[in-house]
């Protein structure tokens, strides 16, 4: 089964070969490297930019204004914080011009902890991204969603941010997470689309499988694990953790529903409220720092609209309000949510007596 990074590569291939993507660029995105996570290997329209994130975002906006379909990458979201003003412009150009100019661009960037990336390869971007009106924000938790969300992002007439959960990029899909048209056999797929080692790469060309369309609508959540006792609202890297926590809690007789938002903006309010109305208990889980966190928006709106249907105080499991994520195991583990902690909070909420 394909990994998420292979799924992204295949989606970009579909994008440039039949969905109108005109260029895919960023630092080390083109040959010879094809991306620090191999996400852009073997593609036709990739190129390497100067080391200048402001230029990368500006370039994408300009190309979009000129009617092209750019897909830009910021190598790590940790390095996008000097471009927030430009991201705001991408998000407000259509509005500020009264509908005169739209900005159809995709910005991809790896986010989150989990690879011992220390202070500058561990940032989350979801809270910041949800503060950018005019942007659509998606974040997959598995290869199939990555493929389907990226195809939707590529064809969207608005700026769409595609957040790549760093820690999941190399994980293979599970049953049900197939990429339509991609060979099921890992080794076969790898031999077709993974670039050989640097020294043997010259002249290499990938053999793309006959990939089929899969458009996962932006704004549509997915019930990653159905359950009845507690609703867990999460996305990206936290999804598999929450599912694992839920599976363990099942043994303790606690039946947890895990809602994978997939789209952070617009988010699937119907799916969220349907789940919470059913379980009457909610836990929001994400990795970003806890103060002024997107999960707090969901909780605020839930208490505003569903106050009396909540049988336990809603809870947020998020990253600590820390200046950074430290390198040492202990430090990273103490800074972002992990299965055990998530499990404990879900259990508390599930067992809470009104």
């Amino acid at each position: 089964m394909a990994t998420m990074i292979q799924a992204i590569r295949m989606a970009l291939h579909v994008g440039e070969s039949r969905l109108g993507v005109t260029e895919i660029f960023g630092e080390d995105v083109g040959p010879p490297l094809g991306g620090v996570f191999t996400g852009t290997q073997g593609l036709e329209t990739t190129w390497n930019t100067p080391l200048d994130e402001r230029g990368i975002v500006g370039m994408a906006i300009g190309l979009a204004l000129a009617g092209r379909r750019p897909v830009a990458e910021i190598q790590f979201c940790d390095y996008a914080f000097n471009t927030i003003d430009l991201l705001k412009i991408a998000g407000n150009t259509y509005w500020a011009s009264g509908g005169d100019w739209n900005v159809p661009m995709v910005l991809m960037t790896p986010v989150g902890a989990g690879i011992r990336g220390s202070i500058y390869h561990s940032h989350s971007f979801d809270a910041t991204a949800t503060r950018l009106p005019g942007w659509k924000i998606v974040m997959p938790s598995n290869p199939r969603d990555a493929y389907g969300l990226l195809l939707s992002a590529i064809t969207d007439p608005n700026p769409v941010m595609f957040l790549k959960p760093k820690a999941l990029l190399r994980l293979k899909g599970k049953p049900g997470e197939e990429i339509p048209g991609a060979p099921a056999d890992d080794r076969q797929l790898a031999s077709m689309i993974d670039a050989p080692p640097a020294d043997k790469r010259a002249g290499w060309k990938p053999t793309w499988p006959a990939l089929e369309d899969l458009f996962i609508p932006i704004g549509q959540a997915r019930i990653a694990r159905p359950g009845t006792r507690v609703s867990v609202l999460t996305y990206g890297r936290s999804v598999p953790m929450c599912i694992a926590a839920a599976d363990e809690l099942a043994a303790e007789g606690i039946d947890v529903e895990v809602v994978d938002l997939r789209s952070l903006h617009p988010y699937d309010w119907d799916a969220i409220t349907e789940s919470v109305r059913k379980t009457n208990r909610v836990v929001c889980v994400n990795e970003d720092t806890e103060i002024t966190n997107f999960g707090e928006h969901l909780i605020r709106r839930l208490v505003e609209e569903l106050f009396y249907e909540l049988h336990a105080p809603p809870r947020l499991v998020a990253g600590g309000h820390l200046p950074g994520i430290g390198l040492a195991d202990n430090l990273e583990m103490a800074s972002v949510p992990h299965k055990e902690g998530i499990k404990a909070v879900i259990a508390e909420v599930a067992r809470h007596e009104p």
């Binding site: 230029g55 412009i89 011009s97 005169d100």
Partner: protein, 346 residues
Amino acid sequence: MNAAANAAAATPRAEATTGLPAELSRRIYDLMLQSRLLEERLITMYKQGDGFFWIGGPGEEAFSVPLGLLVDKGHGPDHDYLHLHYRSSGTLLAMGADPVDSLRQMKNTATDPYSKGRNFVGHFSVRKWNVVPVTSPIEVQFSIAIGTARAQRAGSGAKGITIVQGGDAGTAEGDFATALVWSSRKGNELPLLLIVMNNRYGISTPYAGQHGCDQIAERGKAFGMPTAIVDGNDPVASYHAIQQALDYVRTERKPYLLEAMVSRLRGHSSASGANLVRGELDCVERFEHKLEEHALMTRAEMDQLREQYTQHLLDASQQVLREPQPEPGAVWDYIFADEDQVGGRS
């Protein structure tokens, strides 16, 4: 134009002396005057409380009008993309914009075609002419312009080029360097004309003491791009300088840095009073003398023109005051190009 057209037919003598065909000289004057009178009307509206803020181009007409006449106007990469600043009314008028639309933006009416009453005056947006939205943040247009220029780079087949314009103080922002770096990459050059309108001020801060180079144009040299400095108060010199720069960028598909020395006749904006500033050269006055001198137009013709446009703008402003303001609910329009689907409201 009509009034100007009535003027005596061009004489080769005049051409020789102004350096431009007589008809063109009159056309340029006519547009400079319209642009100046538009700004004066906008300032009056501000002072009468018919607008919250004024910023604009009095003092840049001699450059901005020729620029507007020389651009390849149209939509898409085969025409020129314009990333202008908030003093570019002369360029827009020369391209054929209706001055009344600026009055609408000044009064933030629902009929304002540039921003629907959302943005300050001078913040143009005309997609059909490749005029991308003018943004308030200084210099970001230089980071964005490299994108439209890349869509037109050598080999793309596109015939148009990209023109980006900003002030002198703004070149201190990293975005100016971004445009220099990205447009001059060896083998990946971009057809980009970078224009710096140097009025020697950033709000209250003089140029002197803020820059290491005497002229901003010097900064282009390290990147191997041709540079030029022009008297932006002289429409003839500006016309030729712009034409030369455009020719280079169009044919070479490489960047060119043009610096225009201009005046700031009404100070920075309404925030500093928008009153006449003493000691700044007035390009309209100067050109009027020249036209008279070379018998291209008479004082009477010019006075008549001035009167005619002044009256027209006065009437137009009264008309604009009667136009509707945006509805409160309009804030939710144009958030997304597909549907106005807003988180928290989906």
